[in-house]
């Protein structure tokens, strides 16, 4: 994790290490899983990453993670109505999955606690690098979640919604999904919670997805944590031959948020789309970090991230596209646009290209700016007051990304959430 020896452990580091000792006997897992947990806590003992660790340059976790709450939740939470009407909902409440599993044709669902107990998920528990603090934290403490297996050729009529809800305390959840060859599915990953009384929550959530050859998956992450929560999340995916993955990430909450996206194309013809909107208000620190590996020839990707920064919010976007030596004919494009609306807010971005193949077309663009005065003037000249005009422009700026999704129900549901955010923060 952190290569630099730390002089002294922070309170948070100590709390995590102590908690591990106390929780160990309660955590599910066979021998293999326990070995992974031990390795993971060793990594944390070396210290949480600081800004000297390149991938954490703008999110100094060691400094920012000041408090680690006790494990127990402050209150009971209930499953939420799904984002997309008619979805099959699978909630994880305060870190515990529901014993009653839904029955969906072509889909097998298992509780992750069972998969941990029998050790079948042990190989996937390794962090992906020595700077993977979220992976290590989650591996050490993960207790539950779901494993969703979508059979080859299955075309899901209804979306699946995985909810990870908390009301204070700590929860460490893993959501695994395998989408079989030629299958089609829409999956919503909902990350939310209620502000607990003492106002502290620590959530780590790791999603792992394997998209089979020729499959098509749309995966939506909707993060609306209360502004007291620390939310450390990771989304990892492998995309097979001629498969398509569209990942939509919406961050609209949380105090300290890091959403990592780690994607690898593993078969020729694979296509990855990332669309993200970060709506930042209050004193949030929200970091979206993507590492995309084009590992085989003839794969494509596009990433568009739109950010709105208000209040004293701090936003970060890091996006790295690695094109491996044999990944000829890669076509990758990334854009990150930010509207910085307040003088107390800040936004840092680091779009990276690492290219080892020559026959590729790669590009990235990044902008940070305020609202265009010409646009504002145009609207105000038509009798719209300044506040409404600004609101319209900001909304249009992010809605553009949503409208690109070619599913009407999806667009409507997301615009509704967008309106919800603007009505409280606009």
């Amino acid at each position: 994790m952190n290569m630099h020896a730390q002089p002294q452990r922070t309170l948070a580091e100590t709390a995590l290490i102590d908690a591990f000792g106390e929780r160990l006997s309660l955590l599910p897992g066979d021998g293999a899983v326990m070995v992974k947990r031990d390795d993971a806590i060793e990594a944390i003992k070396h210290g949480l990453p600081t800004r000297r660790v390149e991938s954490w340059h703008y999110t100094d976790l060691r400094r920012l993670l000041t408090k680690v709450p006790a494990f127990e939740a402050g209150a009971v939470v209930k499953a939420l109505a799904p984002v997309l009407e008619g979805s099959a909902v699978m909630p994880v409440l305060n870190g515990v999955s529901n014993a009653k599993l839904p029955e969906i044709e072509g889909v097998t669902v298992q509780r992750l606690s069972e998969k941990l107990t029998d050790g079948s998920v042990a190989p996937g528990l390794d962090p992906y690098g020595d700077d993977d603090a979220i992976g290590a934290l989650n591996t050490a403490f993960v207790a539950d979640g779901y494993f969703v297996d979508i059979a080859d050729g299955a075309v899901l009529e209804k979306p699946v919604e995985l909810q990870n809800l908390q009301a204070g305390g700590q929860s460490h959840v893993r959501l695994l999904a395998r989408v079989g060859a030629g299958a089609k599915a829409i999956v919503v990953e909902r990350q939310a919670g209620e502000a607990s009384e003492d106002g502290e929550a620590l959530v780590s959530s790791v999603s792992q997805l394997v998209v089979g050859d020729g499959a098509e998956v749309t995966w939506l992450i909707v993060q609306e944590q209360p502004d007291t929560a620390t939310h450390l999340a990771q989304f990892k995916a492998h995309i097979g031959k001629d498969a398509k993955l569209t990942l939509f990430v919406m961050n609209a909450g949380g105090r300290l948020v890091r959403q990592e996206v780690v994607v690898r194309t593993t078969g020729e013809g694979a296509d990855f789309k990332l669309r993200g909107i970060n709506l930042l208000a209050g004193e949030t620190h929200t970091d979206t970090t993507m590492v995309l590996d084009h590992a085989v020839p003839h794969t494509t990707s596009t990433e568009v991230i739109r950010n709105v920064v208000t209040g004293k919010a701090r936003g970060v976007f890091q996006g790295r596209i690695n094109v491996h030596q044999y990944a000829q004919k890669t076509n990758a494009k990334m854009a990150c646009n930010t509207l910085l609306l307040s003088d107390d807010g800040e936004f840092s971005t680091k779009p990276e290209l690492e290219i080892f193949a020559d026959d590729v077309v790669c590009g990235h663009g990044a902008t940070v700016t305020e609202i265009d005065h010409n646009h504002l003037f145009y609207l105000m000249a038509r009798g719209i007051d300044e506040k409404s005009a600004r609101g319209l422009l900001v909304k249009a700026f992010v809605a553009e990304v949503i409208e690109e999704l070619d599913d009407e129900a999806l667009v409507e549901a997301l615009e509704e959430r967008l309106d919800g955010w603007f009505s409280t923060h606009g």
Partner: protein, 505 residues
């Protein structure tokens, strides 16, 4: 370049190992023993006849250096440097301050002639000996038009000669070696040295502060437009020496100066260290244009030998409406680690960075810039063109930041990479940090190879493949070449052509 294709030996065509300036010169040298200690620093300081404050300054930096660790964040790989295995001082024996060129060791002059830096010829052309009185008033305008260049030649650790000094002095411009400046103008040096790159800045800058042996000093007083291009030519000749030069350029209110540096070194199997520091200071309404054509020995075709070029360059736009412009053409060095930066402190100040980095063979380049916007209405522009061929790795690493009070900061960044062959790598790592809502930052980057269509179009007109590529590459880097002083634009174009030879196929 294609135009000189015929003159280049056909046999060497497929070989990247054809560094033109790889010769070595036998000159009697005065060297300090290998290694670094307080005694060596005292020795350097004594050899240079420096005042006590300078020695203290060096020792302070050395003590600081002992506490620092070598940076490892750049995308370059090399075996650990043994800092005790380097001569920190090497000077041609005959150097106690030549008064004129005739006193300079003829061997030395031959070196510069071979390098195409005709010190002597220029002095004769300039007619320094007997300037006609009538002409004197016109000198300001005329010399500029005639395209003459004042040169400071640095050989290993010392400056051997500076041309056109008297003429520059008439305009009030001080152009001399930094050692001379420490002796002759201590008040200026003391005021500005280390004010942009402090002694504690980074590992290599701190090392440089402790052991720097020479470099150039330029002072352009208030309201003066420097009447000619200034230039320094660096040459590493001696074995196992490190070159640590320090350049300090000050442009007072309303002054203008254009400065160019060039560098070469002999071909050797072992690696040599070059850790320079350049500080630029621009006061109100001043403008400094700094151009570099860097052609240190890049190592042979197997990646053996070559210069480690670890350089700290920074300009401080201290005054309002000041401007600093960096232009660099990087074709040499085994490893380049270099980020010429601008601190835009004054209101309405602006910074520019134009770069071409060509890497071939096993070269590793990690270069870019930093634009730090502090003042109001500051603007910066970055144009970077990276060309990677052979087995080289070429990284652009740049930072643009706007601080809280930097209202209306404006940046435009464009970095393009061109890959020639599938064994090389091109990487782009830009950092953008905005803390002010009125900041407007734009960044765009692309990576691609030369398209078959482009190549076909040119070749169809009867131009052979290698020349076609050179032509397309020159089109690719045109934006940057245009920023170079005219005399060097041609040289730079040729250099790029030579660097890329053997990269086809």
């Amino acid at each position: 370049m294609p135009a000189v294709q015929e003159t280049i030996d056909r046999v060497r065509k497929i070989d990247v190992d054809q560094y033109k300036y790889g010769f070595q010169t036998e000159i009697e040298m005065d060297k300090a023993p290998k290694g670094l200690s307080e005694d060596i620093i005292r020795l350097i300081s004594e050899k240079k006849g420096e005042p006590d404050w300078m020695l203290e300054w060096r020792l302070g930096a050395y003590r600081r250096w002992l506490t620092l660790e070598e940076p490892t964040w750049a995308r370059v790989h090399y075996p650990k440097i043994d800092f005790q295995d380097i001569h920190y001082y090497a000077a041609p024996k005959s150097t106690p301050g030549p008064k004129s060129l005739s006193e300079v060791d003829p061997e030395l002059l031959k070196v510069y002639e071979k390098l195409g830096i005709p010190l002597k010829e220029q002095e004769i052309l300039a007619g320094v000996q007997k300037p006609a009185a009538a002409d004197e008033d016109e000198i300001g305008d005329n010399v500029y038009k005639s395209g003459r260049v004042a040169v400071d030649a640095v050989f290993d650790s010392v400056s051997v000669v500076t041309t056109f000094k008297e003429e520059l002095a008439k305009a009030g411009v001080i152009f001399c070696s930094i050692s001379e400046a420490i002796r002759e103008h201590p008040e200026l040096v003391q005021k500005y040295l280390g004010s942009v790159v402090p002694t504690s800045d980074n590992f290599y800058a701190t090392l440089n502060s402790a052991v720097f042996t020479d470099g150039s000093f330029v002072f352009v007083p208030k309201g003066v437009r420097c009447p000619m291009e200034l230039s320094t030519y660096f040459r590493i000749n001696e074995k196992n020496t490190g070159q640590f030069e320090r350049t300090l350029i000050i442009a007072e209110e309303g002054a203008y100066v254009s400065y160019l540096e060039g560098c070469t070194a002999p071909q050797r199997d072992e690696n040599q260290l070059h850790a320079a520091v350049v500080e630029l200071i621009a006061l109100d309404d001043a403008e400094i244009k700094y151009s570099t054509v860097q052609n240190w020995y890049p190592g042979d075709a197997e990646g053996k030998g070559g210069i480690y070029n670890f350089v700290t360059k920074r300009g401080d736009c201290r005054g309002d409406r000041s401007k600093i412009s960096w232009t660099q053409v990087e074709t040499g060095s085994a490893i380049t680690w270099k980020y010429p930066s601008c601190i835009l402190r004054g209101d309405d100040s602006s910074g520019e960075f134009y770069s071409i980095a060509v890497s071939n063979g096993y070269q590793q380049v990690d270069s870019g810039t930093k634009m730090i916007h502090l003042g109001k209405n500051t603007s910066s522009r970055i144009i970077s063109k990276g060309i990677a061929a052979g087995f080289s790795q070429n990284t652009y690493r740049g930072q643009v930041s706007a601080h809280r009070k930097a209202t209306n900061a404006r940046n435009f960044t464009n970095c393009d990479s061109l890959l020639i062959g599938d064994q090389c790598g091109a990487h782009t790592v830009p950092y953008m940090e905005a803390k002010n809502a009125t900041a407007k930052f734009e960044h765009e980057a692309t990576t691609s190879k030369i398209s078959e269509d482009q190549k076909f179009y040119v070749m169809q007109r009867g131009i052979p493949e290698e020349e076609a590529i050179a032509l397309i590459v020159n089109g690719f880097v045109k934006d940057v070449i245009q920023q170079l002083p005219m005399e060097f634009a041609v040289e730079a174009q040729k250099l790029i052509g030579i660097s890329l030879e053997g990269s086809v196929g």
